[in-house]
Symmetry: C2
Subunit: 213 residues, 2 copies
């Protein structure tokens, strides 16, 4: 069993240190890097490919919410957990809207904290329907943002949508009047840009980004 590879992003060195001390007691977590702001988070994510990012919300240069949004667009597979002192529910919405899957309060007993993180790492705590509902209620129009900022070209977006609807490469080529070779080229680039492995993961991405109905 490989340990979960963790990246910590927090502008306060003492906060990073506190988290490090807690996690180092557990063999299933491995801290592979630390960053001080959103910009560093993006750079480190690309370099280190962590499984999970523990991200502070309040930070200089680029805050955790902005960093989360950008990282999730380029690396949708990475799990991001926001860490914060606040327990204001509107911060939670903001974090989830940007793409974070989890949310942990800093001042919590360390063992419970680790247990939560582990459960999250193992996909045992999916985002609940209630939370999804509340987000939808609060941000009914959060699609336009995504579309503009996708790293994909418009043609790639077309291909993505057809893939995510369940068409084969041949069917896509016939739909778009291009060769199957070209479809494969596009798909190859799409998967590479989003750091995904196959068309089912791409379908997940499409659903989560609201790119298909």
């Amino acid at each position: 069993m490989q340990p979960f590879r963790i990246l910590i992003v927090d502008d306060h060195a003492h906060a990073r240190e506190a988290i490090r001390e807690i996690l180092e007691e557990h063999e299933d977590f491995l801290i592979i890097g630390e960053g001080k702001n959103g910009e560093e988070a993006m750079k480190l994510t690309e370099e280190l490919m962590p499984d999970i990012i523990l991200m502070d919300i309040q930070m200089p240069v680029m805050d955790g919410l902005e960093a989360t949004k950008r990282i999730k667009l380029k690396f949708p597979y990475v799990k991001i957990v926001m860490i914060t002192v606040s327990d204001d529910i509107t911060d939670l919405f903001d974090a989830l809207k940007k793409g974070a899957q989890g949310y942990l309060i800093k001042n919590i007993q360390s063992e419970a904290w680790v247990d939560h993180l582990r459960a999250f790492a193992l996909d045992e705590v999916p985002m609940s329907k209630e939370i999804a509902f509340q987000i939808l209620k609060e941000f009914p129009q959060n699609k336009a943002v995504t579309k503009e900022e996708t790293p994909l070209s418009s043609r790639e977006l077309e291909v993505l949508q057809l893939v995510a609807k369940g068409l084969s490469n041949r069917e896509i080529s016939e739909t778009l009047f291009i060769s199957e070779h070209t479809v494969k080229s596009h798909l190859k680039n799409i998967l590479s840009k989003l750091h995904l492995e196959n068309r089912v993961q791409l379908t997940n991405y499409a659903f989560q980004q609201g790119l298909i109905h």
Copy 2:
């Protein structure tokens, strides 16, 4: 270009006749069958595999809403359009909750009617976010129903969920401690039961049924 294969289900013969007259003027629609109630609708769907079902809501024996729910569980690929005289919006929610993708009022000018149906057949009118939101608001707990009534066994449901998360057959076999052959068997049966063609379509099904987060 193949015509869209239509099944009409309505208990009033004159209503079926009216629809038939309208659609027969258009070469891209082909009426392949007619039914008088929900029970007949299910039997005919299995026999004829229509592309689109035009389904009345109010019918004896088994009404259109119940029939829609059952048909969508077994044949998720079939598109169902509810036809009704009512313009009560709660009926629309009910229909969409049961799995119908479209909704048409009977007393409408025939040309506009056909245009709408064609747009729908070509996937040009996805269910809007607003409607999805309203459904969610009105029926926050519509998941339990689905889970009980899936035609899949519990093991098949496990496999489905792993497929829909983007795992390969090998990864699934390692997760469940069974052979890859067995995974293939399950997947084959799942696709067959749901009348789907590949794992991306299955992923769509899983998302739409709320089987994955």
